[in-house]
């Protein structure tokens, strides 16, 4: 059988089978193609995949305690944390030794900082221990360490340390979803309503983002329709008006809204002037959710108008004319013929505005007051202020998950292929 196949296979001039020769030529082509996209792939990997992977890692990484206190965490393995008794002398001896060496490398405070995210007081406990351990030279280390700070004599302290001595933790995700691990029992509990932050903020961020998508659509749709129907010259001028704020600094646009909307601001003054409201009834339109919605709708409007406009321009006017000439009511002609054709633009604009809105933080921070801040404001706080990058990353990962979830929903309902970005 093989022999027959060999006989009938085609060969090139130099005697190699055509199949192999073709594969070789194609491989070269593929290599060239790959080399051409390689810079792009490399860029995507560096600028996109690596940071996201890094963020994922940060949100579960818990290696600080184990790396800086290896012997102590090893010795703690033999201690049963719910026995109601303190760990043995071995653990205390290891702790004293390792705080000494960590102090020399200036790392003991790092452990304290890490554990302080779990329970208040560890920061100063380790800072103080770093100052005092050098005086502890001889056993028994247990008594000596407890004498330096009575917190070392509490079982709770060791429970926290033991439960944070593995390489990975789910603690940041628990915190990001308003749960808390009780170290006394190892059980996970949800925070009482009065202490919950993140779930409320996630919910609010999504709701306000939807409101913004809706408003940009309501404002953007007729505007884009007008842009697509007027003469090219007029539409070019109008497009510049759409793009002009786009090129203005975000901060400038946001602060202009403050000047307009504040209680002593232009709009309130005008409303009083025309007698619509009284001096005591000045409207609170900023430093609350209203401010965030107004300012962000304005800022994100171009992202709705541009895809809508590009789609509307391609819809032949004859469609609607044909529908009307066949007896459809103008409203029906619009709703049954024109509107469905704009769906790719609506889809693209909505997804764009939604994804941008859900991650916004500068505008909500400036105009949102208390009721108009977003979950991203908490991410910013944890990255740049509290330095709890683990928690910040965990919230970020959840936010990314939410965006992907909406994306999948969108794909199921509308279809991602139906989207047109201009």
């Amino acid at each position: 059988m093989e022999k027959i196949q060999e006989k009938i296979s085609l060969v090139t001039a130099d005697g190699t089978p055509l199949k192999i020769s073709l594969a070789r030529a194609q491989r070269r082509g593929k290599m060239v193609a790959f080399m051409m996209v390689f810079p792009l792939l490399f860029f995507v990997a560096i600028a996109f995949i690596v940071p996201i992977a890094d963020m994922l890692l940060f949100s579960i990484d818990n290696s600080i305690v184990k790396n800086i206190l290896p012997k102590t965490t090893e010795a703690l393995k033999d201690w049963s944390e719910y026995s109601g008794e303190l760990p043995d002398e071995v653990v205390f001896a290891a702790m004293v030794e390792e705080i000494k060496s960590a102090k020399a490398a200036k790392q003991h405070t790092k452990v304290g900082g890490r554990l302080n995210y779990e329970s208040s007081g560890f920061s100063s406990l380790f800072r103080k221990a770093g100052r005092k351990v050098k005086k502890i030279k001889n056993p028994p280390f247990k008594e000596a360490l407890i004498e330096s700070d009575k917190l070392w004599g509490e079982i709770y302290t060791w429970q926290v340390i033991k439960q944070n001595s593995s390489d990975y933790t789910d603690g940041y995700y628990l915190a990001a979803l308003d749960f808390k691990r009780k170290f006394e029992s190892g059980k996970i509990e949800s925070l009482p309503e009065k202490d919950s932050i993140y779930l409320k903020l996630f919910f609010r961020t999504i709701v306000i983002s939807f409101v913004i998508v809706f408003l940009t659509l309501v404002i953007g749709f007729p505007l884009s329709y007008m842009l697509s129907t007027v003469s090219t010259r007029t539409s070019n001028i109008l497009i510049i008006f759409v793009l002009l704020p786009f090129w203005t600094s975000l901060l400038v646009r946001t602060t202009s809204w403050i000047a307009l909307l504040q209680q002593e601001g232009v709009i309130n003054d005008f409303l009083i002037f025309i007698g619509f409201i009284t001096e005591d009834g000045r409207l609170a339109m900023i430093h609350n959710a209203t401010g965030t919605v107004i300012a962000m709708t304005h800022i994100l409007l171009p992202f709705m108008i541009l895809p809508l406009f590009s789609v509307m321009k391609t819809i032949p006017k004859s469609y609607v004319r044909a529908a009307i000439s066949l007896g459809a009511h103008p409203w029906k002609a619009f709703w049954k013929i024109y509107f469905p054709n704009t769906a790719p633009g609506i889809g693209a604009g909505s997804i764009l505005v939604f994804i941008l809105a859900i991650g916004y933080y500068i505008t909500p921070a400036l105009v949102g007051g208390v009721s108009g801040t977003f979950i991203s404001n908490r991410i910013a706080y944890h990255i740049s202020n509290s330095l709890n990058w683990g928690l910040g990353s965990a919230i970020g990962v959840i936010l990314l998950g939410i965006v992907l979830l909406f994306f999948v929903f969108y794909d199921r309902i509308v279809g991602i292929n139906n989207m047109k970005l201009g």
Partner: protein, 364 residues
């Protein structure tokens, strides 16, 4: 043609010299807060230092607001591009804790006072971390609109008195300061504040007091917001850094007055980031920039108190306005009858916890 050639030669030589000159000159990247504050440092420290040391060029970077996170990121990337960073004391402590700042030997690295007092004695208790070189004492305090209140405000508890002083107040969107003031006005003895605040009940008590004015508060996140809100008449009274209020009152001549009662002192100063490539030059610069005269010079440009005790007698008049600076200093005896010093140790332990409580309270 000959002339042309000669010109070309001269240009080439000059360009080469210029290039060599640049190669010799060392750039020091100094990170600070920007605006009037960086200007005061430029006038008091950078300009005279560069004049005396032509080989050094100081480049200002205004990203102190995000310095802690950026330093940590630089450290993780293994490429620290900053040489000196201006941070508040609490951040200096944290950077020191994380091993991101160099430990300073204050007596060895810094100049002694003119009378020979060692640097560590001259700075005294203000050296709150072994990595921290104090520079100024500033305070978070209140300014109020003189034209919008029926009588001058004199007590911190006037903030909580919405009957006598109706209108909005601006407070920082942070538990720091607000919780201390709330407890003082709820009757807690000032020396017991942190004992009370450290308990769950005490924190609830502070928040309960803040609840009484919650609907009247505009929360700020940047120091520039309160002056703007005051100027626009959006708030009658608001907290911010005292230097910002000084500018409003003395430079912009706004109808605003200070309410110094229970101002909260805080410190700002330098840290040397670990991994700086110009450590020797930076230490030399630091010795100059933190000496008695230089710290006093800075107060000619901005109303923050110099951190050295020995600088106080040298505080003079404002460099351009010509007004006496001493009465505008938070440390002036008339202004500092009742003060609170930020409790760094307490906040290092409890900030995360109280901040979570505070934010949950805001969302209620």
């Amino acid at each position: 043609m000959k002339n042309f050639m000669r010109n070309m030669m001269a240009t080439a030589v000059m360009a080469t010299l210029g290039f060599v000159g640049q190669a010799i000159a060392k750039d020091l990247v100094v990170v600070s807060w920007g605006g009037a504050y960086t200007a005061s440092q430029q006038n008091a420290y950078h300009a005279p230092y560069m004049k005396n040391n032509p080989g050094i060029k100081i480049i200002n970077d205004d990203s102190a607001g995000t310095a802690v996170a950026k330093l940590r990121a630089m450290n993780e990337a293994g490429n620290v591009t900053w040489d000196l960073v201006d941070v508040v004391a609490a951040d200096a402590m944290r950077l020191c804790d994380e091993g991101l700042a160099e430990v300073i030997n204050h007596d060895k690295d810094l100049a002694a006072a003119p009378d020979g007092t060692s640097a560590s004695k001259d700075f005294g208790g203000l050296i709150v971390s072994e990595c921290f070189i104090p520079q100024i004492v500033y305070s978070t305090t209140f300014g109020y609109r003189t034209d919008k209140v029926s009588r001058p405000m004199s007590s911190i508890c006037d903030i909580f008195d919405t009957k006598s002083f109706p209108g909005k107040r601006s407070l920082q969107k942070s538990p720091l300061g607000n919780m201390e003031w709330a407890l003082i006005c709820d009757g807690v003895a000032p020396d017991k504040i942190f004992d009370v605040l450290g308990t769950s009940k005490g924190a609830d008590r502070a928040l309960a007091k803040l609840t009484t004015i919650k609907s009247d508060v505009v929360w700020w996140t940047a120091g520039a917001q309160t002056p703007q809100l005051l100027a626009d008449g959006e708030v009658v009274v608001g907290s911010t850094y005292n230097g910002r209020l000084f500018k409003m009152i003395a430079v912009d001549k706004q109808p605003v007055a200070m309410l110094w009662d229970w101002q909260i002192f805080d410190l700002d100063g330098w840290i040397v980031p670990k991994g700086t490539k110009n450590k020797a030059e930076v230490m030399k610069y630091l010795r100059f920039a933190t000496d008695t005269q230089r710290l006093a010079d800075q107060s000619k440009w901005i109303s923050y108190g110099p951190a050295r005790a020995s600088s106080a007698p040298f505080v003079g008049k404002h460099a351009t306005l010509g007004i006496d600076m001493a009465p505008h200093m938070p440390t002036d005896p008339n202004n500092s009858k009742t003060t609170l010093l930020t409790n760094y140790e307490f906040w290092a332990d409890n900030k995360d916890d109280l901040d979570a409580k505070f934010n949950a309270w805001l969302l209620k």
